[in-house]
Symmetry: C2
């Protein structure tokens, strides 16, 4: 039996609780499919700051690089919130590992489980059948451009007085746009063959370059895939008014951050959405939701997004499509039977169907 | 009777049709309140490019500067779409006039008319009572920072080959953040006394500076106003899940562009939303929607957002609050009677209640 080495990054808040359920599911898959998973745990985010003073210790990066895949839970919390540039912040761990592993493609599938259709704040006829894939560029743009803050003796305060000024840089190179465009077109070929490329070409130079390059790659290499452009502000509207029409949505890092969260919320069940971050080497899988510090340690967090990120890992990193399908079927069955964690509980969910983190993990394993 | 000089900018697409209805309403208000409005029409956007080669002719700027207020309809259309930096684009007219008039505050009220509550794609219990004011910074950030595109002999193409790179700069100075923060706090004092400041402080240096300055202004000058911070990605979610909770939302230019459109779409009736752009001199009023080239010239465009931008003009530039209230009452009455343009027509609207642009303007005037 083949052994896959997985780097586990529990992170902060509910992280340790939900990642344990992800591991439980992996172990069950291992038994069923005669595959072995070996785990090495490492520190990332707030817990890493507390233990080592930095959000991404070298040791963590070494473990990640040496692994076949990385399973992350979530990082961050109010304990480490600061605007002081001199202090470390948990997010630096996340951004740092994305950059170091070259994870330039973030895939965020947005789908609605039939049993949870009612959780959306949108009308059922609007969300029925929503099935899109957000392809977010993850290692460029405003996230990694040059940034600085100054104090100027004049011109930055009111009436020309002294004051501060700051800048961030949104930068892209041709190859960065080319490779993410290819990822989007490839994803579309496995789906409904349509790509919506989102930019702000009526204002930004990076967007005008983005649009030209995406069209060139589309015309030269993917003439069979339908391609449309949509301005980012318009996209923010269309995601709410006609979400069903979107198949693959590709966009730069910051627009992707905003739009993927908006799209996730359309489902009304953020606790169900996973994501994959892919590059040329080790890939990383994590839930789309955050570390939920307010419910940490209570045993009530929803582990399903973490479990579905395991599904993505099996599919994209290990090519175990059958096992991945199995996990999705198990999760669907558990939901169809009415089992709910608190976050996805609906008005008519009976009290005895509300379960905690561990029980939810057990239920999924029982259905495998 | 006092005479107010108004610069009219019909622009492109449906612009000329809807601005005519705005003028009709202004004239009716003039008669009723013994006030005179004098109009000077000027070119902006695509029509200006066609006539003069530039989207913001000097003549237009002179007329605007010499006026007491500017009433704009909408600019742009596929005819002028281009990614060629050497060609003029209609949006340059809009961005140019915002900058030249120093219109740093964009106010976008988001409200639901009871008669149109059903138009939203969100569930009625979610949108019932939505009433927020988006305060968008309008003359800074990525919109006006330095931008460039290069061709590099190496490093920008795939495998280190030659290729393009481009950048845009997100820049803010202390006084720019101070003055928009004050506008937000002032707006909140006239409303429900709560400000949500939106940024991406976990990534951007400009956001960390933004957050510090907004908090300082709040603590020093507006201790009576409640202030909360929300990350932009989280805001994109919360706007859908609990829109009723927002009062004043203040944010930088690009985030404001995206979030104000998302918030507008929550109402489901973009054709009803107006905006005001304020600075230290002449202010500008326009609908939140675009130039809708697909329905231009057909006499079916909804003029109500334009008419409600006249309402904002009376309120903010001329201090004619009573006349402004009158317009709002008239629009509400027309909607309550069931009159609809095509865009706000609902499944159960009888065919004989669907009216065109001119009739809708006439109906509002009849109710004044
Ligand atoms: C935590 C934060 C830096 C991160 C991002 O903005 O990329 C998060 O919001 C995400 O989307 O994964
Ligand atoms: C036309 C475009 C440049 C403009 C903007 O992005 O500001 C528009 O979307 C708006 O919001 O007024």
């Amino acid at each position: 039996a083949k052994t896959y080495n997985i780097c586990l990054l529990p992170g902060d808040g509910i992280g340790p609780e939900i990642i344990a359920e992800g591991v439980k599911v992996l172990d069950a898959v291992g038994v069923k499919y005669d595959t072995a998973f070996a785990y090495t745990e490492a520190l990332l985010g707030g817990c890493a700051i507390d233990a080592t003073g930095t959000a991404l210790p070298d040791e963590t990066l070494h473990v990640a690089e040496a692994s076949d895949a990385v399973l992350l839970a979530a990082v961050g919390g109010p304990k480490w919130d600061t605007t002081d540039p001199a202090k470390p912040r948990p997010e630096q761990g996340l951004l740092g590992i994305r950059k170091a592993l070259g994870l330039y493609t973030n895939l965020r599938p947005v789908q609605i489980f039939a049993a949870l259709a009612d959780a959306s704040t949108l009308k059922p006829e609007i969300v029925d059948g929503v099935d899109m894939m957000i392809v977010r560029e993850l290692t460029g743009g405003l996230y990694f451009g040059r940034r600085e803050r100054f104090y100027d003796e004049e011109g930055c305060g009111t009436h020309g007085a002294a004051g501060q000024r700051a800048y961030d840089t949104l930068e892209y190179r041709e190859y960065e746009v080319e490779r993410i465009a290819r990822q989007a077109f490839e994803a579309a070929r496995k789906r409904r063959n349509k790509v919506t490329s989102v930019d702000k070409a009526n204002v930004l130079e990076t967007s005008r370059m983005w649009r030209e390059i995406v069209h060139r790659i589309g015309a030269e290499e993917y003439p069979d895939v339908e391609l449309e452009d949509l301005l980012v502000d318009n996209t923010a509207m269309q995601l709410i008014s006609r979400p069903v029409d979107f198949d693959v949505v590709v966009t730069e890092n910051m627009f992707g951050d905003i739009l993927s969260d908006e799209a996730a919320q359309i489902t009304g069940s953020l606790g169900m959405l996973a994501s994959a971050s892919l590059g040329d080497g080790t890939a990383l899988y994590e839930p789309s939701h955050g570390s939920a510090p307010d419910i940490a340690g209570k045993g009530i967090a929803n582990p399903l997004a973490q479990i579905l990120s395991v599904e993505m890992m099996l599919r994209y990193s290990f090519n175990l499509g059958e096992a991945a399908d199995d996990i999705r079927r198990a999760v669907t069955a558990v939901l169809d039977e009415g089992w709910r964690t608190g976050d996805i509980k609906q008005a008519d969910t009976p009290a005895d169907k509300v379960v905690g983190t561990v029980q939810m993990g057990d239920l999924v394993v029982a259905h495998l």
